[in-house]
Symmetry: C2
């Protein structure tokens, strides 16, 4: 069998190899996605996000454990920051996921969020399709909680879980633009710490004030890894959200949004390649020189370079 | 006088207003940049980056104080994260900059790094042009140290200062891809803390190993805010770097790179607008539906939508 067939049949090595091709966005990956795309749409997709330090990885680990006890297979995509400078702690956290390393029902993939366009790279969507086609019951995407990717994640998955911790974000942070609309389920992790109930109540209060922004009020669930409480409630909340999406037909809107988001990402990618080539052409040198010598503003230069050769709409 | 003239003449209110127009990328800002762009190219531009928690803001504050004692005027652009979720501590840190709030020789602007394309928004370049045209001797851009913007900053300024702190990043972090190439000057902040000399030595060792990657070995300077040491060395290092850029002619390459970077950003912005419109067209609905129903992969859909209407190169 070929690499694509092997990967779809669940061969771990083939999955890892094909994932690398998808990350590299190479021609083989385009062929692969074309082939496997009709097989997708069956996995349940969950995004996990939240600020650094709230214990997203240990929460993801618990969630995987709970899903495994219910005999569900899981692929986890851990999105690492593209930054050259941000902390090195994330990888360390993810080592906890090693608990599942000998379990063939769990596949963990760390991936960089790099990509010229910032935020969640389009390749993340490709990885979701890969694991979906390979028959995993759940595909879980965990972001590091910094930058645009936290907001982007809603465009990649069915249900977004926003993780907070006591003392984190119960006031200003949570009010920041965009965050309320992103989450389908709120989790207050480290519920064994003091202040957890305060955070839960503050979040509930905040959400009830913002109810106008929602089709459905997101539940707020306290979870403790050490006391092993709450995780079953999260699994139930994810099921509830799925049922709600389906019974109301909101799922159709969501799927549309996912498709539009991914198509747009792919269009940007295609255009980016062409922009790089346009700027690199010899004929662009004259225009660049005019900008350097302050005779032409960068925007006018951009207009000049793409004049007549851009998508009209 | 009009807003643009007022801003260029240094009127604080006009500067703030025009900065908002630039951030909004509205038509007035395009006209303004066209007008002021010929006046730019005189300010010295410094980027300050580094991981969260190393004291970038207090370092920036000291640097401004040192430059002010030498009678240099300073505009500071503090780039806040676009993320809805990341911590709220940055703004608090920046309040320290209030030390200079009654000094007409210092102008501080907080700006969001938002923007569909991620990383440092193209508007940051516009802000630099604004303060440059308004006659500030120095324009200092400070990033929060997460995400693509840390690497992007090199495309916006003449000299990049990478701030570290004892115990931070002297091992794995600093080795991460991209970071070594980004910095022209390394600063080890909080030099009064134990371990500062170890970090300085580790950085110097690392840099001397990587010398092949440089045109010039970046200096490593220990700075202490509390003990008020080192900051004069940084000012001197920035001067040295500037002189070196000029005497070697490397400045020409750097200016070219800055122009290309900004033109490319503007091109992406223009194209992004058109992509949004293309995807929103009624005729796009058929293609989107094919993706939702898994009959067409997102990439092929993107190709279909932009076929024949993209920049050829």
């Amino acid at each position: 069998m070929g690499l694509i067939e092997d990967a779809v049949s669940g061969n771990v090595r083939a999955l890892a190899q094909l994932a690398t091709h998808i990350e590299n966005d190479d021609p083989l990956s385009h062929e692969a996605i074309d082939q496997i795309y009709p097989l997708t749409g069956n996995a349940r997709t969950i995004g996990i996000t939240g600020p650094p330090g709230v214990g997203k990885s240990s929460f993801a680990n618990q969630l995987v454990r709970a899903l495994r006890s219910a005999d569900q297979t899981c692929a986890v995509i851990a999105v690492d920051p593209s930054s050259a400078l941000s902390g090195g702690a994330m990888l360390g956290d993810r080592i906890r996921m090693l608990e599942h390393h000998s379990d063939p029902g769990v596949f963990v993939r760390s991936t960089a969020s790099r990509g010229r366009t910032g935020g969640l790279a389009p390749s993340t969507a490709g990885l979701i399709h890969l694991f979906d086609a390979a028959g995993f019951d759940f595909v879980i995407v965990e972001t590091v909680g910094v930058g645009q990717e936290d907001v982007d994640i809603v465009g990649y998955v069915e249900s977004v879980v926003l993780v907070q911790a006591p003392g984190f974000g119960d006031t200003i942070q949570t009010l920041k633009a965009g965050v309320l609309e992103v989450a389908d389920i709120f989790v207050v992790n480290k519920a064994d710490l003091p202040g957890a109930q305060v955070t839960v109540k503050a979040l509930r209060g905040l959400l009830s004030l913002a109810i106008g922004q929602y089709d459905r009020l997101p539940p707020v669930i306290a979870v403790s890894a050490t006391e092993r409480t709450g995780i079953e409630d999260v699994v139930r909340a994810v099921d509830d959200h799925r049922n709600w999406l389906r019974s109301t037909g909101v799922i159709l809107r969501r799927r549309d949004k996912l498709a539009v988001n991914e198509i747009t990402g792919q269009m940007r990618r295609l255009v980016d390649d062409r922009i790089e080539r346009l700027v690199g052409q010899d004929s662009a040198q004259v225009v660049i020189e005019q900008v350097v010598s302050r005779r032409l503003s960068p925007r006018r230069a951009a207009e000049k370079l793409i004049a007549g050769s851009l998508p009209q709409a």
